[in-house]
Amino acid sequence: MNSIGIIGYGALGASLAHVLRNAGLLSWIYVKNEDRRLQAQSLSVPILNSIDALPVNDCSIILAVPDSSIYEIAQQVHTLYAGKGCHALIHCSGSLGIDVLKGKDTSIKLIAMHPFQTIASYTDLPNTPWGIDCDASDLAEVSRLIESINGIPHTLSSRVKANKSLYHATAVASSNLLQMLIALTTAMADEAGIPSELFLPSIQTTTLKRAHDSLNNKQSVLHDLTGPLIRCDIATIQANREAIRHIPGLDAVYVSLCKAAIPQLKAMQKLTDFETDILMNALNIQVFKE
């Protein structure tokens, strides 16, 4: 892939444009939004403002657009480039397969590649693993493209492709939900009157380090779980739930996370059958007045 155009200039599109331009691969970029078009001028590549204006030549096109627009834009590209030498059509969605890219020009290579990371800036891209879904004959070429922007290519197995929704939900839980949880703990610390910037970083850093260590050791992160759940300390769990009742929805989050962890802790023999039963009962009841 010697020549690449990008459709879309959101967080991911802008970041890819930056690193592909530095790698000497970026030919043009399509930017719909006027303000963003101004931002893109620093790339020093042609900036297009209409799909119909895309240069018809032997290039690969990355669709860095919302999932809901991918199909429609792919069809426009197929119409525009039919028989005129578009090399590959690439989308960066973690939740969609390559079928969404299919169109009337069957000579175009169809590729799905997405970062295992939420990308806010081009500085997030180096050393990021990318999941790849494409025809086996295109794997080497796609891998080279990812390596050219210092990414780590990873071919998605057929099992992952069959469970793409779950796979994507896993990424969301691991990034977005974790962020939300941290935001909640910040609100809790503030309400409790302890400076969150003082109180939370060391707890969260240690927890994340343990989580990463456990992933490398192929051991559940729950193996080192501490706190009231693993101690089957129902009194403290009840006290925690009472304390967080004023923060909307937080009790439900607390209960749901505990309930989800209990079967895993039981399977790891960290909780006995007795402890499992009494914890589940305690988590299934309301402990405070409305």
């Binding site: 009840q238 009962n281 305690a282 299934n284 009841i285 402990v287 405070f288 007045k289």
Partner: protein
């Protein structure tokens, strides 16, 4: 120990002291007997059950507990009316006398309600009186006359209404519930028993007779007003007649705060010159699988619906009482399963205390703490989740096998007292299980199959064969149980 309770009247938790040293007097708004009681109804009766047990067992009071039966209201009249679609053929032919029809319908559902109470572990012997509204018509009429004489009631088109505007000139109307008085229109009357807070109006004390409805003669202000009582007046009159005013505690579901309880307070004060009760205690709603229980959602359950699904009434009781009464209770099958497992853990612990080798550790201190924690949690506004937590914490720290010859009887004595309140365990050795012979099991299965294929002759022959071996079969909707013939 002294009990503290959340009082809806004052909106805070207050220490409870009985008005009369001799006994605590409790009035619970009971069921309207026009249908089988649903789960929400039962939750509303389990709350005062735990309350009265705590007052007796933990606080040491004598308790007089009255739970009324509403056997005359809009719904009972509607369903017993001649030609009503809800008239159960099992009741027999309808009479031409509407009072007879009303009695037949309400007697049937009253008996079913009593059966449900027993099934869910509410002892009839604990309820001092279950008065029927129709047995207190004369008391209601006296009260209405009093209210009229004191100037807070007026007659219109054969009915008697409470004059809310006049009452509000002198008294606070909306003591239990924030009422939307902005939209109150003086002189507007409402005949329905139940209405929303946006429709605050002059409520009905006595309803003029309508065609083919049951009625009682009534004279007030020298006018003949044949008719029947409004719903709210019933509890005022029965509470006064059976407990005296003010009594100690009035209970009910939160949905009764307005209009029923608010109107009750106004009526009793206007007619008897007395406050109704010093504590008003309300239990929260019940939801099923996270939604309001409703026939339209397909999540409406009576107790018998759950028993038909094979659920154990003691599990249902435990699941409801081990949650905070003042919280919305979300009844889920998963939650019930969890409660069932937890309840059986305690039962297993109790059985283990009657068997096996004794331990040598001394757990007197833990036992003392359990007693203290359990009962003090109950005395803190009936905080059953914390009380049950204390029991589980003890069981976790002190396995039954570790209890010594001194600790085991002490634990059994304590769990006996705890069970006097929770009421879901058997404090006795594990029952001996008779192994059912294999050939009896096979015959029972053959009979079930024959019955399923409607070969009733064969099923009957097999039943006799099973009986000859000393066993009987008890069928339920989806399965059967083999029992030893007595």
């Amino acid at each position: 120990m002294k009990l503290s309770l959340y009082n809806t009247l004052t909106k805070k938790i207050e220490p409870f002291e009985p008005l009369n040293d001799a006994e605590v007097r409790i009035y619970s708004c009971g069921p309207t007997v026009y249908d089988y009681a649903h789960l929400g109804n039962l939750k509303a009766f389990l709350f005062p059950d735990i309350l009265q047990r705590t007052l007796r067992i933990v606080c040491g009071y004598r308790v007089k507990w009255v739970m009324n039966i509403t056997d005359i209201d809009d719904k009972t009249i509607r369903d017993s009316a001649i030609g009503s679609e809800r008239w159960n053929p099992a009741f027999g032919e309808q009479s031409l006398d509407p009072k007879v029809n009303l009695k037949v319908l309400t007697s049937f559902y009253e008996q079913e309600f009593r059966n449900d109470l027993a099934m869910i572990g509410i002892k009839h012997s604990d309820i001092s009186i279950m008065p029927r509204a129709t047995d207190f018509i004369a008391d209601m009429q006296d009260l209405i006359r009093n209210i009229h004489d004191s100037g807070y009631a007026y007659i219109s088109e054969g009915s008697v209404y409470f004059d809310v505007a006049k009452w509000r000139e002198k008294e606070h109307y909306g003591r239990l519930f924030a009422i939307d008085v902005e939209h109150f229109k003086s002189g507007v009357r409402i005949d329905a028993d139940e209405y929303s807070r946006e429709h605050v109006s002059d409520f009905v004390l006595w309803k003029a007779v309508k065609d083919a409805e049951p009625f009682w003669d009534f004279t007030v202000a020298e006018q003949q007003l044949p008719g029947r009582p409004g719903w709210h007046i019933e509890c005022s009159a029965m509470g006064h007649a059976l407990l005296g005013l003010p009594f100690d505690i009035h209970t009910g579901g939160v949905d009764l705060r307005f209009p029923h309880h608010e109107d009750e307070i106004a009526q009793s004060k206007a007619g008897y010159g007395q406050e109704t009760a010093q504590f008003w205690c309300h239990n929260e709603f019940l939801e099923v699988e996270g939604k309001k229980m409703s026939k339209s959602f397909g999540n409406f359950y009576t107790l018998r619906d759950l028993l038909d699904k094979g659920m154990d009434p003691m599990d249902i009781r435990f699941s409801m009482v081990n949650a905070q009464y003042g919280s919305v209770f979300n009844f889920t099958e998963f939650g019930l399963e969890s409660a069932s497992k937890a309840r059986k853990r305690v039962q297993e612990y109790i059985y283990s205390c009657f068997e096996g080798n004794l331990g040598h550790d001394n757990h007197a201190e833990e036992l003392h703490r359990l007693k203290q924690d359990f009962f003090s949690a109950l005395c803190d506004d009936l905080h059953m989740p914390r009380a049950i937590e204390a029991l589980f914490t003890f069981m976790k720290m002190c396995p039954a096998q570790a209890l010594s010859h001194r600790d085991r009887p002490a634990f059994l004595e304590l769990i006996h007292d705890i069970n006097e309140i929770v009421g879901v365990w058997t404090i006795a050795p594990r029952p001996e299980m008779d192994e059912i012979p294999k050939e009896v099991k096979e015959l029972a299965q053959q009979r079930w199959d024959a019955k399923a294929s409607k070969d009733f002759t064969k099923a009957d022959v097999l039943r006799k064969e099973i009986s000859a071996r000393g066993y009987v079969i008890k069928d339920s909707k989806d399965s059967y149980t083999i029992l030893k013939e007595e």
